[in-house]
């Protein structure tokens, strides 16, 4: 989902992150009953699903690999194209099934499905778009193993980022504490993003896919306040004190 690679300075392959919004269908047991409800709603709003990517959330039902394949086939007959799955055990998925997705965020703008099949379809208008926040402020330290991903903008951490943790931002990253883990800024393709920290003990820093590990960072910069930026595709780091 997020970036990686770009071997400095030769540019071979770069992966970028992009976020799309998809609707989630969450079947409830018994599945046959749920499919009936879906059909009732479908006669209300024919063609609703045409061209829309759908995520299938299987948390409420327990299906094995063949059950999931069957359900996807049944939905396909109704013109519903499942591009990803949520809420199920990765071991039960074979290679022919859509991939398991993690870390989906609630999105503003939800349409309710009204099963009253009479005359004009009753679809609630999308609530006016709230101003999406473009920076994330975290007041607690980021613990080892935690992963903070915020493609929409900057991330500011008012504590330390532990060794084994990672912070991934679409914008810049500001750590008012020790940066001991990984910081990956400009993850959506923003070469102007920067990384700031009060104490540099980072394991890996990356801006717009260009990265350096701790090994490649000058030892004189360790434990000092530093800023990192991209200078004509070269990751530069300098002390701030």
């Amino acid at each position: 989902m997020t970036t990686a690679i770009a071997i400095r300075p030769q540019q071979s392959m770069r992966f970028r992150g992009r976020s799309f919004m998809a609707f989630v269908l969450a079947p409830l047991p018994p599945i046959t009953g749920w499919l009936e409800e879906l059909d009732k709603w479908g006669c209300n709003s024919p063609g609703f699903f045409v061209g829309r990517p759908i995520i299938l959330d299987l948390a409420a039902v327990s299906l094995d690999g063949s059950g999931i394949t069957e359900l996807i086939g049944t939905l396909g007959e109704r013109g519903i194209r499942v591009v990803g799955l949520e809420g199920t055990d990765p071991d039960s998925l074979g290679p022919s099934l859509p991939p398991l997705l993690k870390g989906g965020r609630q999105s503003a703008g939800v349409e309710t499905l009204d099963t009253a099949c009479e005359g004009t379809p009753q679809v609630v208008a999308m609530p006016s778009q709230r101003q999406e926040p473009t920076s994330l402020l975290l007041e607690n330290p980021i613990r080892s193993g935690q992963s903070v991903i915020f493609p929409a903008g900057d991330i500011t951490v008012l504590g330390s980022v532990a060794s084994g943790a990672e912070v991934v931002a679409g914008g810049s990253i500001h750590v008012y504490g020790a940066l001991r883990g990984r910081a990956m800024a400009g993850s959506m393709g923003n070469a102007r993003a920067r990384i700031f920290c009060s104490r540099n003990e980072a394991e890996l820093i990356s801006i717009d896919g260009y990265y350096r590990t701790a090994e490649e960072i000058d030892a004189g910069l360790r434990s000092r306040p530093t800023q990192c930026w991209l200078d004509d595709r070269i990751l530069s780091i300098a002390a701030l004190d």
Partner: protein, 271 residues
Amino acid sequence: MAKVLVVTSGKGGVGKTTTTAAIGAALAQSGQSVAVVDFDVGLRNLDLVLGAERRVVFDLINVVQGVAKLSQALIRDKRLETLWLLPASQTRDKDALTDHGVASVIKEMRGRFDWVICDSPAGIERGAQLAMRFADAALIVTNPEVSSVRDSDRIIGLLDSKTEKAEKGQRVEKHILITRYDPQRAARGEMISIEDVLDILSTPLLGIIPESEEVLRASNVGSPVTLSNPASAPARAYLDAARRLKGEPVPMTIPSDRKGLFDKLFGRRAA
């Protein structure tokens, strides 16, 4: 109202079971009614350290599955009448524990004891997560060395996300207990300093337990170190830690085995 305390660490072999037994015994000695629960299914050790291994009939899994009542499974300590043990099963594995089952056992124990201390297994998987799930407070046992500190940090992250309290938006009260601390090695720079450990973990310190041969001697005779030799350095450190758990302001020191020599480290009190 009872307090459920989980003794956890992430890393194995740092002293969780020793601590559970020592602090459980220390609290019981001060008059509190304490139950210690072994969550390490399949690799149970708490019964050995407490010297109860020959009296185990029913265990936590039997109670969870309804095969036995809690009162049938609880084993009373022979030396301290307010200390009880709920052992783990040795023949089953962690999959036999269910969220719902553990919840009801803990709930029943809350009604009967002042303290329920859960001895967590090592790791971050199901056993460790179940042990911490219903905790009000946590004791994170850490050795002053790099892998232990990083693993403890991971566990602190889990305490803030995978517990019932965290899911309700409340906080689990967390304390660091540094074990196997060797002042000479620390002075030579071979061990991470206490300040560095606390700086990395950003969590209040409950106590510092020095490295000592007494711990092994105590477990060999099946007694918590606070009972087998209460004058020894680790025992005194554990007794201080237990008092701090109850809220008493005890100044932070590292007891040493040398008579009459107390290292007053810093004037910092435990939070």
